[in-house]
């Protein structure tokens, strides 16, 4: 198998994730797209770990999973707070920073 199979698949997933982050107005869906990005990164980590026969890749993939879990927790808390304050989780309405 080629290394590039995995890397290109990861790249495709990553870019789909980026597209999702940019295009979605619903906060929940943005968080899901972020998960896509993180998973793409994990594939890369494990692939390179296997390539160099180093367990570090897998270890850091595990760390990423842990961090992703934390990120979802915080992200959902923020989305809930936003929902509670504005009765909507539409990100395009959150533009208080408008200059």
């Amino acid at each position: 198998m080629l290394l590039n199979q995995f890397l290109l698949l990861a790249a495709v997933l990553f870019c789909i994730g980026v597209y999702g982050v940019l295009v979605r107005k619903n906060g929940m869906l943005v968080l899901m797209s972020v998960e896509l990005i993180l998973n793409a990164v994990n594939i890369n980590l494990v692939a390179f770990g296997t390539l160099t026969d180093d367990v570090g890749g897998a270890v850091f993939a595990l760390f990423t999973i842990a961090v992703a879990a934390a990120e979802v927790g915080i992200g959902l808390a923020i989305v809930l707070l936003m929902y509670r304050n504005r009765r909507s989780i539409d990100l395009s309405e959150a533009d208080l920073l408008k200059g």
Partner: protein, 784 residues
Amino acid sequence: MFATLAAEAVSTVTTVTNDAAWFLENAWIIPLLPAISFALILFFGKRMPYKGAEIGITAVSVSFILAILTGVAWLDHRDHFELEKYGEEQAIAVSDGAASATDTVAYTARFVAAEAGEGGAHPYVAVQSSTQWLQSGGIEFNAGIMVDGLSVMMLFVVTFISLLVHVYSTDYVGGDRRYTHFFAFLSLFTASMLFFVLSDNILQMIVGWELVGVCSFALIGHWWEEKPNSDAALKAFLTNRVGDVGLLVGMITLFFAAGGGKTFDTIKINEAVVQGGVSHTALVVAAACLTAAVMSKSGQFILHTWLPDAMAGPTPVSALIHAATMVVAGIYMVARLYPVFWEGMQIEGSSINLLATVGAITVVGAGLLAFVQDDIKKVLAYSTVSQLGYMAMALGVGAWTAAVFHLFTHAFFKANLFLGSGSVAHAVHSFDMKKDMGGMRKFMPKTYVTFVIGSLALAGVFPLAGFWSKDEILVNTGGWDLLGGSGAAPGSYTFHFVMGMIGAALTAAYMTRCVYLTFHGEYRGGHAAHDDHGHDHEEDAAHGHHGEPHESGPRILYPLYILSAFSILIGFVNLPPGFLAGSKKDPAGWQERFLHFVEPAGSSYFPAVGHATPSWSLAIVASLVAVAGAGFAYYYYFIRLDRLSKQLGESLVAIPNGITTTNVFARAGHTLLVNKYYFDHLYTGIIAGFTKGPLARAANWINQNVIDGTVNKAGESAVQAGQLVYHKIDQAVVDGAVNLSGRVSDASGEELRAINSGKVQNYAALMFAGAAVLAGAFVILLAL
């Protein structure tokens, strides 16, 4: 003399423990006690009869006593140690015959063996006792203490000032709504600072550094109900974060670069640097990054702005944290890692470097700023910034001992001044010298005397403490051989010498102004009661402050007396050669005792720093300069303004633009101030603009503000313009660097609004697109 006293004390110590070195090896108890006290006060403080103050005072007192015993043990240790280092004859000369040779050999051998046992091949003069905390990936994480002259000195200063401040606070914040909380944080601060100065590795230093920052944050915001106070606390914290990045990067660089890499041990890092085993580039990077850390923590130009704002905290806190101890953490760090700076900045034989120049600019810049302040604490705050500039400059020019000595003396007289200002403010319930003070000499004669002593010491009047330390710094700049600098100084820093001289004149002058406005002239207060230090109203009524102000109570006055005594006497511990020479029996006398005990000269982990011998001519010229500064201010304030105010029958606040319309020198001085501020303004404007976004916006902003400012300048008098710009700077830094969104985006051009839609996803799109383009460029460059 010193040694005789020391020997006397040592014998007392040894009878208690059978071994004076016990104190050196177990100095970790000193920070532990206030740490325990913090926990105790937090949990039980409110239920104690004195609301937790007694726990804090007890803990700090015991720490203080231990610190003194450690210091005494250190004096003994240092004297003994010379033998091993230089051979018998010399050792006896420096140790003043206090110890017999056999004792000494056994004593030293013990330490050498102990060090060797812990893996160190070199006999260090410092006593290091550490234990392994954990080991991971081949890296050892140790926790330990390092006791040497520098840390012993800091132990003494921190515990001493902390004890006095604790006592003082029982009166000053008495009846405060968060009295217990206040004492808890004083204890935590003391513990953190002691932890910081005792740490034997850079990891612990970072931890201590951040801990004192947190305590400072909590104590500045002690009265957080008022917005300016919590703003000031945030500003202090965030400004310090800027420098902390420098600290982290610098420390990481050292970790990887020094000693073959991967050691946190301060001594090992220093040793590697001294032996030349570290690449120069790494040292330059580390030294520059650590300088940034010093700039934030020790309030050096351009990150000094948080320190004057930090005066929003209670006055005892200002004395302890923002004058005597925490702000010198940066100076301490440089002194501790001195080889890094010595090699990285090539201090020896040079005539300019980053650290010295930052210090020199700070000396004069902050000295000038101290002139336009009406708030007595802000005068002292800028004065602190200026004095810290002296220390940074001294370290930069290679005057290690002078810097540390100035740190030592400054701690006493600046704490004295701060506590004195607190005493006055306590009486008039305000910090505004122009509105609410004046003529306080009549009401508070005791505070007046101590304040004047502190001012004289700060101004460097012979023979008070400040004179000796400031003079030593000036001599060691090695600038201007005309004045008899003997040339043994490490470099020839003429520019820094001149700045130091100007700083001396400024210091004397602004302190004269401060003393005049506060203590002389007519009493201008009594019209309004500013309840800005947290008293309950009932208590105010009990004080009867609507009548005349009155002298403070003993818990405020005694710390002031003690500190005044120290301000007068403490300079004598490091007399230059030529003063109070010793007798036959005691050859060293009082000369250069500080240097001998504090500087680890000749150790494997300290560079060979040169020492210039002071000259009479320089001392006289420096004194004349200071007297001239004071004299000018005296003439203007005590004579001219006093007369003017009496003639007009008005309070001096009401006299319009006095200084610039009547005196050509003053006008010149103020124009200088104004110009300096424009430069500053431009500078912060650009930084803030760039931080926010595109250059266009920054340019636009500068355009508006600077041109506006210039128009104002033409329209108004120089004083008013100076004041205006002063306010703008401080505000520009707050708003620009901390709350930068508001002001900068308000002032930004309409044409850039489209990008600033406020929608996170648009920003993300720009970010990803930018990343893609940059990565693309990079990839193509690599591929070609």
